[in-house]
């Protein structure tokens, strides 16, 4: 492993362990599991649907992530700025890119742990019937990618403030706009007056429409590209913002 990745990994490692140093991690994991299965069984009418799939489970993820991803990512930079440790970080022999990427991956891998812990529901559905496991696997990957996009957005916005609560609110609102962009109600309102390409652009920006395709088992290049470029773009802005906001 060369030095560049080694240092990124040290940042990643400290940040990931940081989640488990406080009760935050266990609380988050509990809330995620309780909410995701609660929504699946009660709101999603898992049993009444009488179908062996996890549509009812994944359908709630965009809405769940809207709250949970800002909760995971809000401290990434806001806390560094509040406590002054950003000065320590930046005077270490590392680049801002290494810092931003290391921190982002810590939060993303933490989310992966949460998703892995939800797998008993996958086992349950296999026990109850014969689901299409390919679709479920793709949905898991898609869900993790979407979580990554939410987290990159949150990480980026958490650089703007020293206050974690403000970082949380900013990220939730921005996430909400990105999810809602693909909502039928919004789209039909726009469609009534705007040319088709505007409607399509808005739809293509939406987390919801991309995620819906994944849920149906359609995992094409454009969806992958969308989430990955969303992550890359947010992290790129994040790197610039660290440079600009470090001294405020």
């Amino acid at each position: 492993m060369n030095t560049y990745f080694k240092k990124t990994f040290i940042i990643f490692d400290r940040e990931l362990k940081g989640y488990f140093r406080t009760p935050l991690a266990s609380i988050f994991l509990l809330v995620f599991l309780a909410l995701s299965s609660g929504m699946t069984f009660f709101l999603g009418r898992f049993f009444e649907r009488d179908q062996a799939d996890l549509t009812a489970f994944f359908a709630w993820h965009p809405w769940l992530f809207l709250i949970l991803m800002p909760a995971i990512g809000m401290r990434l930079w806001a806390e560094e700025r509040r406590s002054g440790t950003i000065e320590l970080l930046i005077t270490l022999p590392v680049t801002n890119t290494q810092l931003v990427v290391g921190k982002f991956f810590a939060s993303w891998i933490f989310t992966l742990i949460a998703l892995i812990l939800s797998m008993p529901i996958w086992i349950t559905v296999n026990y109850l019937g014969n689901p299409d496991n390919n679709v479920i696997f793709i949905s898991y990957i898609g869900s993790w990618l979407m979580a990554g996009a939410f987290l990159a957005l949150t990480s980026c916005l958490s650089t703007l403030t020293k206050n974690q609560v403000i970082a949380f609110i900013l990220s939730s609102i921005s996430g909400f706009i990105l999810v809602m962009a693909g909502f039928g109600l919004v789209l039909s309102a726009v469609r009534s007056w705007a040319p088709i390409w505007i409607t399509e652009t808005i739809r293509s920006m939406s987390f919801l429409s991309h995620f819906n395709r994944i849920q149906m088992g359609v995992f094409d290049f454009s969806t992958l590209l969308f989430f990955v470029s969303m992550i890359v773009l947010c992290l790129w802005i994040n790197i610039q913002l660290v440079q600009i906001k470090k001294t405020d």
Binding site: I10, R14, G18, S83, E87, T91, L92, P93, V94, T95
Partner: protein, 316 residues
């Protein structure tokens, strides 16, 4: 490698319209402890932040061990240990974890070496008793020591400490100064401080900075000699003195300044100063006796760095 470990030329930094650091030059050699003095907002911290690569100067160059900090920041930063103002640290981490994190980031890859550096720090900076405690539970003194330890973990050539003794009790201050003195032989050290006795105690050179400009750059002794008129005599009496007496004393003694410094409850302080002629206490006392004053106290007041500091920074 040249003797100069830090060379900064024409450093300038402004924030909007405010010029924080205005075209300053400075260099620090191996073995030197440079004290950075100045009122709050004078530009001390901004200068230190530029020297450590946290801030980019608007103008000017910085060389760290002959490496251009702006062109090759990653390499240059390896030579620096830095204690930022307030000694920030990850409060949820244990002392040992935190120091080993900084050590690894500072490039100590060999785990044996890291281990030995960590135990050196525990020993040298007296951190053993808090070694496995989260930093947030530590007292201010220990937190500051953890800050020093993270700056020293990789045994850097250059140490930049922003107010290292701020908030420490007198014993801890004493220990910290001893520590700085002990390690200063092979390093170039820059410390900023408000406490002038600290400069006299540990620094081999002092820079006084105000409004972003360097006003003085001397050894502590030279500062006092250069910027003060020398000593003065203070006499405290319990009599009430009028101006006439003062004028009489002044004309007979023939010293440049004889004045009433202050009136406090039944006490008057007379100050006598002269830059050119040496003050003679005997002569002064003989003269004062003529007026039959009750003398409570009489003696020389030594000038110190505090006076220099006040004088230089208030001229601005």
């Amino acid at each position: 490698m040249s003797l100069k470990l830090i060379t900064a030329k024409n450093l300038t930094k402004s924030f909007g319209d405010f010029i924080a650091v205005d075209n300053i030059d400075l260099d620090v050699k191996r073995g030197e402890v440079l004290g950075f003095l100045g009122p709050n907002g004078a530009g001390k911290s901004t200068t230190m932040k530029m020297l450590t690569g946290f801030l980019e100067p608007d103008k000017g160059t910085i060389e760290i061990c002959d490496i251009d900090l702006q062109k090759n920041p990653l390499k240059a930063k390896e030579f620096i240990g830095y204690l930022p103002e307030g000694a920030p640290a990850y409060s949820d981490m244990e002392v040992s974890d935190f120091l080993s994190f900084v050590g690894k980031m500072r490039g100590i890859e060999n785990s044996k070496l890291l281990k030995s550096r960590l135990s050196d720090m525990a020993e040298q900076i007296n951190l053993k008793e808090v070694w496995n405690r989260p930093i947030e539970t530590l007292s201010k003194g220990f937190k500051r020591r953890v800050g020093i330890a993270q700056a020293l973990i990789h045994d850097p050539d250059i140490l930049i400490l922003d107010e290292p003794t701020d908030g420490l009790d007198p014993n801890q201050k004493y220990e910290m100064r001893n520590l700085i003195k002990n390690i200063s032989q092979n390093k170039a050290i820059v410390i900023s401080t408000h406490i002038l006795e600290e400069v006299e105690a540990v620094c081999s050179r002092a820079i006084i900075i105000a409004d972003g400009k360097i006003l003085a750059n001397e050894t502590p002794e030279n500062l006092v000699n250069k910027f003060l008129e020398g000593d003065f005599v203070s006499i405290i009496t319990s009599n009430i003195i009028d101006k006439k007496i003062i004028n009489d004393i002044k004309s007979t003694l023939n010293y440049k300044t004889v004045k009433i410094e202050s009136h406090k409850k039944n006490q008057t302080q007379i100050l006598i100063k002269d830059e050119k002629n040496k003050l003679n206490l005997n002569k002064i006392m003989n003269e004062i006796k003529k007026y039959k004053l009750d003398i409570n106290e009489a003696g020389f007041l030594k000038s110190n760095l505090d006076d220099v500091f006040r004088k230089i920074t208030q001229q601005q």
